[in-house]
């Protein structure tokens, strides 16, 4: 066991990426994720890795495409407006079936928005974000320890399914400091026979490309890719349940919203309301199985989000609209207080919406 140290979420994810074997980081500064780039700039030169501050987010994501195509563990990080800029490149990666880690430490939007925390890129992350039919693996940490743990997981899943993976954090997760234990761990780095590593005249050249000359061919690629997505949906849903054993009100929240909601659940229990929480850890694939099971047990759901109500749509879909779902939300960089969450839980318990 490694000794615990005190880290910012942004630092923890950067160090975890290095421990997971990532030696290629391409980025561009933007608050509130700049510490990732700052940390990488200090560490990468010391370990023979590449830290490169690109001339733009667009350049950075295209450098990630290059490194990933060569079979390397590569990553980039940004915050909301920067992820919009990267979206074209992310779509190309999905079209090329390239694995990589993309970190979004979200801030308020739309537009330039603000630098305070937000979860308003939920739609962008879970629906793909760029153009075309595709998905990203989307992981949502809710502690500094998880910021690190999900980096290991993210690289492994990305390579296993040949998909880009997004770590969807928020400004609070990136900036908060908590004790964390970091240790080298045996990953499941998948073999990469597809990588552009040079044929040495011994094999046919590999081709990595998202352009299909025939529409029939492109359709087949898309259908094959979606068969892979079905396997991901079946096997990789992750969530954590809290006080759900006998719960009749189910709070659904991820990231920082889940931290606040956990306190609200405790407060509701203290008032005699049987509340519990399901915390999605994978936002895509969304933990539909856990939600569907909860719909048989609970009489109402409460979705807590730092946006105007985005995940609530997935909650309703997952439970097939069998139960009422209320929304508790703040936006623009604001975080709901435990009391605000509690009052929505109370109304849901009384049968209101």
């Amino acid at each position: 066991m490694a000794e615990k140290i005190l880290m910012k979420g942004n630092e923890a994810l950067a160090e975890a990426a290095i421990m997971a074997g990532c030696r290629h980081y391409f980025g561009y500064p933007i608050t509130p994720q700049t510490e990732v780039a700052a940390y990488m700039s200090r560490r990468m030169p010391k370990i023979g890795g590449t830290f490169l501050q690109a001339e733009s987010e667009i350049a950075a994501i295209n450098m990630v495409i290059g490194a990933a195509a060569a079979g390397k563990r590569a990553m980039t990080s940004s915050s909301s407006p920067g992820i919009s800029l990267k979206s074209e490149g992310i779509s190309y990666m999905a079209g090329c079936d390239l694995p990589a880690l993309i970190v979004n430490v979200q801030r308020g939007g739309p537009g330039l928005g603000g630098i305070q925390p937000s979860q308003s890129d939920y739609f962008q992350a879970t629906r793909g974000g760029g153009h075309g039919d595709y998905h990203l693996l989307v992981l949502a940490p809710s502690s500094v320890q998880e910021m690190a743990d999900l980096v290991f997981k993210g690289f492994d899943l990305a390579e296993k399914y040949r998909m880009p993976c997004m770590l969807l954090a928020d400004g609070t997760m990136g900036q908060m400091m908590e004790p964390v234990e970091l240790s080298e761990r045996a990953g499941e780095s998948a073999a990469k026979p597809w990588a552009l590593t040079g044929t040495e005249g011994k094999r046919r050249p590999n081709i990595i490309n998202s352009l299909a000359l025939e529409p029939q061919e492109l359709e087949k690629w898309n259908e094959d890719r979606f068969k892979r997505y079905d396997i991901v949906r079946e096997n990789e849903q992750m969530s954590e349940s809290y006080r759900m054993e006998d719960a009749e009100i189910c709070v659904v929240a991820f990231g920082i919203a889940a931290r606040v909601s956990q306190n609200a659940v405790d407060a509701a229990r203290a008032k005699g309301i049987r509340a519990g929480m399901l915390r999605p850890i994978t936002l895509w694939p969304f933990p539909e199985k856990a939600l569907k099971a909860a719909a048989d047990q609970c009489k109402a759901f409460v979705s807590v989000e730092l946006n105007m109500g985005q995940m609530i749509e997935d909650v309703r879909l997952a439970i097939e609209c069998k139960r009422p779902v209320s929304l508790c939300c703040r936006t623009g960089g604001m975080i709901p207080s435990p009391d605000e969450v509690l009052s929505v839980i109370e109304r849901a318990a009384e049968g209101g919406k």
Binding site: K4, I5, L6, M7, K8, E11, E15, T31, P32, E35, R42, G108, G113, G114, I115, Q116, G171, T172, Q175, M176, M177, E178, P179, I256, R259, V260, Q262, N263, G332, G333, I335, S337, P338
Partner: protein, 220 residues
């Protein structure tokens, strides 16, 4: 504790400067001293001295901070009012300096006045639990970078080893060998060890003077 007119807290990013500066200002005010706190951090977007503004002002501490601190814009600007810290000779000034050399750069413009008055303590805040200050050499490297950036040499060390909520007396005590090395390498005296109020009484006598602190509460 021997109190100078100005007390400056600088150090590695995330070493705990803001918490200590806020608690130190409250402690000074509690002793009946006219006190002002200057937030010179132009690096950190969140978790600023301004989070404690209400508490500080209720205790009579004047808070001088950027109008943009904790706002939705990212402007590394300091208010002109900051000059009051070097000019109000009847006021104990506490300065919260931004992390690392980049953060300390902003202090430079006030240094000539601080040196001229020569009634200051420039303290290096050290947390051995931070990943880039695990050993004395690394901490000393950051200490020297900060001095170079702002042009003001340190006069002492504040020991603030902590693991946030998981801090125990053992966390603090276990940093002692590295702390001793740091004081030896740097030639700087240990001014005090900062510890959460509930842990402070549990510390041994040979860890230096202990400064008990309250931590900013969060809703998560």
């Amino acid at each position: 504790m021997d109190i100078k007119r100005m007390t400056l807290f600088a150090g590695h990013y995330g070493s705990g400067k803001t918490n200590i500066a806020v608690n130190f200002a409250l402690w000074l005010a509690g002793q009946g001293k006219k006190t002002a706190l200057g937030d010179l951090d132009i690096v950190n977007p969140y978790y600023r001295a301004k989070d404690s503004q209400k508490k500080l002002e209720a205790a009579g501490v004047r808070v001088i901070a950027s109008a943009y601190a904790n706002s939705n814009v990212d402007v590394p600007a300091l208010p002109q009012e900051m000059y009051a810290l070097t000019e109000m000779m009847d006021t104990c000034a506490v300065l919260d300096i931004g992390g690392d050399d980049r953060g300390a750069l902003a202090l430079g413009r006030y240094v000539p006045a601080i040196v001229r008055e020569n009634d200051y303590e420039m303290l290096f805040v050290f947390n051995r639990s931070r990943p880039l200050t695990r050993d004395a050499q690394s901490a000393l490297g950051i200490l020297r970078e900060i001095e170079q950036a702002c042009g003001l040499p340190f006069t002492g060390i504040v020991h603030n080893t902590n693991l946030g909520r998981e801090t125990t007396a053992e966390t603090i005590v276990s940093a002692r060998p590295v702390l001793e090395e740091l004081t030896r390498f740097s030639g700087l005296p240990l001014r005090f060890t900062a510890a959460r109020r509930d842990i402070a009484p549990l510390l041994p006598g040979d860890i230096g003077e202990v400064f008990p602190m309250e931590l900013q509460k969060t809703i998560w």
